[in-house]
């Protein structure tokens, strides 16, 4: 099976990525599309929102994914399908990631829209520590 050469977002999400750019994607790390996608994916996964893409639009080339990024995407796919065999279907692995990112970017956009400007990362930090505590990590 050939490996997809890029990862996709929903056509409508492009506007959402632009809208959250100033508030969330302004730092050095998140100004890369790949990292924006992974962040949205994480948000979608954390909120268990996974939505099918209506009109697919290429977002970044899969070759930009680092082994660490691939590991995380794979882990999400394993979690979602409850099977390691999903790893033999890379197209499906990417699809799962895209669906979570599709859900995540919407949540992110809604959060930005309802919160005070400049406060996102403060809120995010608080939320992450609470989540860490509830997951009993570390």
């Amino acid at each position: 099976m050939s490996k997809p050469d890029r990862l996709y977002i929903d056509e409508k999400d492009r506007d959402l990525y632009s809208k959250v750019e100033k508030e969330v994607f302004s730092n050095q790390l998140l100004n890369e599309r790949k990292n924006q996608f992974l962040f949205a994916l994480s948000i979608g996964f954390r909120n268990e929102i996974r939505a099918q893409l209506e009109t697919r639009e290429g977002f970044f080339r899969s070759e930009y994914l680092l082994p660490k990024d691939v590991s995380l995407i794979n882990a999400v796919a394993i979690y979602a399908t409850d099977s390691i065999e999903i790893l033999s279907n890379i197209k499906e692995v990417y699809r799962i990631a895209e669906e979570y990112a599709h859900g995540g970017i919407r949540i992110l956009h809604d959060e930005i829209a309802t919160n005070q400007v400049g406060s996102y990362f403060k809120m995010f930090e608080k939320d992450i520590y609470e989540l860490k505590k509830s997951l009993n990590i570390g």
Binding site: R46, K68, L72, N74, L87
Partner: protein
């Protein structure tokens, strides 16, 4: 001299007023009590204006107003003229009176301005034949100089607010000048010395015609003397400049007292601004670093269920030896498809086929998936391990950001404080005042350096002069045929020497007498007799107070003691000088603590038994305690009040 009456017409707050100070009653003590703004200090100014045509004690408010009374200006028509007059009637001795009268005519230009049209000053007195003499212009000024010389007026008329700083302001230079004037050495210097010097020069000139060597030496000597004279002038000029600079530094220091140092504050403000900018920049960088770390950390937390699950599967498979796979599932699939062993080439029978199929079924992880899992295991464990470390980094950066925010806040507060301090001030004007003071400080330092150089040079030139004088004397000795001339020249030289020695002796004797009398008076007056041992006025006329333990303590005495020392010194100066002038003190106890006010009042009262003392009090200064001492002794007591829309002062005898 004592002041009998002061008459004021249209002078500042005073429309027309006569202050009668003729009564004595044993104590020649006169008291004027008035609140601020009623014109107490302007009584002091009026005497100065009358005698010296100056008003050295003007308040900031008065300085903005013209000399004439505001009410008078209001009442007359534009274009009209009116007089301003101050007369000081004084008693030189019981049978001899003198009147100092200064009149100025002003013209009202419009509602806001007046211009001085003319001014005249006259001194009226009675001569030996009972003729009334009116001295004007220079002659009148001469009379002032003979009775209350302008050069030492600050030793008669005081502003009590400044008395505690008396010895800081009255430098050795000023005191030397005062001693010089009161000892009348100027008569010796200007009259006799100068005349004998001219005589000697003329005689030597005559002698030089008989001997060319004498002429040559004389020329050199005259040249050197001229240089020395110029140097003396320059030294005097330097001293004047230094004295003016000290006064001005003090004056601007007073003006700037309590007012912020704009220049320094501007530097501070810029520093705070730069600090805030720098720290803000660092804070933004740190916040960006924190966001980056938080993004990665947050992703790990958010994806933790997936990461954890994958790691558990991977570790389990590793434990079960399922990964890395010992069997290549793809190879087995290929063998089964071809019915032939890919290793030994043997064709597979049914049993072999079913055995291979069993192995394939048992091997549930393909090598591709296994490789992926192994790689995942490595990176996910790396994430797990780095997790704690990232958390610490985030905390550390968070603390750094907090610290920076705290520092930015502090700088912000400092900036606000500076802006608060500067609000309401005319920054440009204050900067200008600081600048002027700085210029006077530079002038002072520059002239000090010049003075040092001139003193060194004059010492050298004096040595040259002495040498040339010896050589000239040698040449004169050789000239046998001008014996008479030589005798006359020698006589002049000896006379000059005697005169110079006399001058030195008088100066020294006067200094010593003032020193001893100051010590006696201070010793009588001071309430801390045990702590005080000696007063020294050194050859440079610097005054020092010696503690009973032997150390100098002028700089550490209280305002009251400082005023007392100033009073003792002044009384000594009056006594030794023979200038029996009154003492007039404006706000005499303003800077003295409550406990010492009574003592000071008592002392002033005692002083008034032998000298006219005029004291100008504010009502708060003239407290029950002070009045209980002075009320039984005063000869006259007046109260000053303002009326007519606070433009005219009225005086009432109490």
């Amino acid at each position: 001299m004592r002041i009998d009456k002061i008459y004021l017409k249209n002078y500042r707050q005073f429309r027309e007023l006569e202050i009668d100070l003729s009564e004595k009653k044993g104590y020649d003590l006169h008291i004027i009590v008035g609140t601020n703004g009623t014109g107490k200090t302007n009584i002091l100014n009026s005497i100065n204006w009358c005698l010296y045509n100056e008003e050295p004690h003007l308040s900031k408010d008065s300085a903005r107003l013209p000399i004439p009374n505001i009410k008078t200006i209001e009442e007359i028509e534009d274009g009209e003229t009116f007089p301003v007059e101050v007369e000081v009637r004084a008693e030189i001795d019981p049978d001899n009176n003198i009147r100092f009268i200064r009149k100025a005519v002003f013209r009202k230009a419009d509602k806001k301005s007046v211009t001085q049209q003319s001014s005249e000053f006259e001194v009226v007195f009675t001569d030996e034949r009972d003729n009334t003499i009116i001295a004007q212009d220079d002659e009148a000024i001469d009379w002032v100089e003979r009775t209350v010389p302008s050069g030492i007026r600050e030793f008669f008329f005081f502003d009590g607010e400044r008395l505690d700083k008396y010895f800081r302001e009255a430098t050795g230079q000023k005191i030397r000048h005062a001693v010089f004037q009161i000892s009348q050495i100027n008569l010796l210097k200007n009259e006799l010395e100068r005349k004998i010097e001219i005589m000697r020069r003329d005689l030597t000139n005559m002698a030089s015609r008989a001997n060319p060597n004498i002429e040559e030496k004389l020329k050199e000597l005259e040249k050197t003397k001229k240089i020395i004279s110029n140097l003396e002038k320059q030294i005097e000029e330097c001293n004047d400049q230094i004295s003016i600079a000290i006064d001005k530094i003090q004056e601007y220091g007073e003006l700037l007292k309590g007012i912020p140092d704009i220049e320094q504050m501007e530097v501070d403000r810029q520093n705070y601004k730069n600090n805030i900018e720098k720290k803000n920049k660092t804070r933004i960088e740190k916040e960006s670093d924190k966001e980056i770390l938080l993004t990665g950390y947050g992703e790990t937390v958010m994806l933790w269920p997936a990461i954890g699950k994958s790691l558990r599967i991977i570790d389990e498979k590793k434990n079960n030896k399922q990964i890395p796979p010992t069997i290549d599932k793809d190879l087995l699939d290929s063998i089964l498809k071809s019915d032939k062993c890919k290793i030994c080439g043997q064709v597979l029978d049914i049993d072999a086929k079913s055995y291979v199929q069993k192995i394939i079924d048992d091997t549930n992880v393909s090598s591709e998936v296994a490789a992926e899992l192994l790689q995942m295991g490595f990176y996910l464990h790396e994430l797990e391990n780095g997790f704690k470390n990232n958390e610490q980094k985030i905390h550390r950066i968070g603390e750094e950001i907090n610290q920076l925010e705290k520092e930015i806040n502090e700088n912000d507060l400092n900036l606000i404080e500076i802006n608060r301090k500067l609000s309401g001030y005319d920054e440009q004007k204050i900067a200008e005042l600081h600048n002027i003071r700085k210029q006077f400080e530079q002038t002072h330092n520059h002239n000090q350096r010049r003075l040092g150089a001139f003193i060194a040079e004059i010492e050298q030139r004096n040595k040259t002069k002495d040498q040339l004088q010896k050589e000239l004397d040698g040449e004169l000795r050789k000239a046998d045929h001008i014996e008479d001339l030589k005798k006359e020249i020698n006589f002049c030289a000896k006379s000059l020497e005697i005169l110079q020695n006399t001058s030195r002796c008088i100066m020294e004797e006067t200094r010593e007498r003032i020193q001893d009398r100051t010590k006696e008076l201070f010793s009588d007056l001071t309430w801390k007799k045990d702590t005080f041992r000696d007063i020294i006025i050194d050859e440079d006329y610097n005054i020092d107070l010696i503690h009973s333990a032997g150390y100098s303590f002028l700089g550490s005495i209280s305002a009251g003691e400082s005023e007392l020392l100033a009073l003792a010194f002044t009384l000594a100066l009056h006594e030794i000088s023979g200038f029996d002038a009154p003492i007039l003190i404006d706000t005499p106890v303003a800077r003295i603590s409550d406990t010492h006010r009574n003592k000071f009042a008592k002392i002033l009262s005692e002083v008034s038994q032998n000298k006219q003392v005029l004291l100008l009090f504010t009502p708060s200064e003239y407290s029950i305690e002070v009045s209980s001492i002075l009320d039984s002794n005063y000869a006259t007591k007046y109260s000053l009040t303002l009326s007519s829309g606070e433009m005219v002062a009225n005086m009432e005898a109490l």
